[in-house]
């Protein structure tokens, strides 16, 4: 029991990862796939942020009288990864808009039907 509760940040990560992954695989709607992808990415971000935290550590800005700081590096890394995620999402949404304009649908199976009827 103690093992399960003391590692709760990993359980959240795993839960989000699987939810996101499942959505990407199982949904045919292109927008829902992007949402799933985002959840999947967020799980990775949480993993980094949680391993950077030091118990009882302060924010990593030098202040007098503070000895213990959290590790700032994972935050910096994840800031980069979040920017990458934003770019990916924007690009994916732009593609979906274009797909909607040229196919008239954003359901994967209907798009396949369109392509095969050509």
């Amino acid at each position: 029991m103690d093992f399960i509760f003391s590692h709760y940040n990993y359980w959240i990560t795993i839960f989000l990862m699987m939810v996101g992954f499942y959505i990407v695989i199982s949904r045919g709607n292109l927008i829902k796939k992007i949402i799933g992808l985002n959840i999947f990415q967020v799980s990775a971000f949480l993993l980094y942020i949680s391993i950077g935290a030091v118990q009882g550590g302060a924010a990593p800005i030098i202040t007098e009288g503070v000895e213990l700081y959290s590790n700032p590096l994972p935050h910096v890394l994840i800031l980069t990864a979040i920017v990458v995620g934003v770019a990916t999402t924007a690009l994916a949404l732009a593609l979906v808009v274009r797909i909607k304009e040229s196919y008239g649908t954003i359901e994967e199976d209907e798009i396949h039907e369109h392509d095969h009827s050509l």
């Binding site: 924010a59 800005i61 800031l79 920017v83 924007a90 949404l93 732009a94 808009v97």
Partner: protein
């Protein structure tokens, strides 16, 4: 367009404050939490608020998309040229310490310029994304 008087008045009041806050986050980034990414997004949110309340055409009159594209490149160019400048000052790429007389002043100058570049690019790119998505629905 209907006259949403309350919305218009409140947002006219809020937009300058948002811009001010963006500038604070931008230039306070080397002492406390903040920096170009956050400031850029906050700044672009003020323009987006303006576009939501007063319409897309009015917003594009303030910052045309052509200028945004130049700004987006310019910001990243500022970043890259700070790096080049430090090469010419005899250091490695992005080594700010050689930019000014003392390393501390150099670090200060370097990070301010780099964050300025980041801020410009991020706000311009966020606005380009917003305008190009919203502009799609126009006939």
């Amino acid at each position: 367009m209907t006259h949403n008087l309350i919305l218009r008045v409140i947002s006219k009041f809020l937009i300058p404050l948002i811009i001010l806050f963006a500038l604070y986050v931008q230039f306070h980034g080397d002492f406390g939490p903040g920096g170009g990414f956050q400031a850029g997004v906050i700044f672009s949110s003020s323009i987006i608020l303006y576009a939501l309340v007063f319409g897309l055409d009015a917003a594009e009159k303030i910052i045309p998309t052509a200028i945004l594209r130049i700004l987006a490149s310019l910001g990243a160019l500022i970043y890259a040229s700070v790096g080049i400048a430090s090469i010419f000052s005899g250091g490695n790429y992005l080594n700010y310490s050689v930019l000014a007389d003392t390393p501390v002043a150099g670090q200060h100058l370097g990070i301010l310029l780099v964050e300025l570049g980041v801020g410009i690019t991020v706000s311009a790119v966020m606005l380009i994304i917003f305008f190009s998505f919203v502009g799609r629905s126009r006939p």
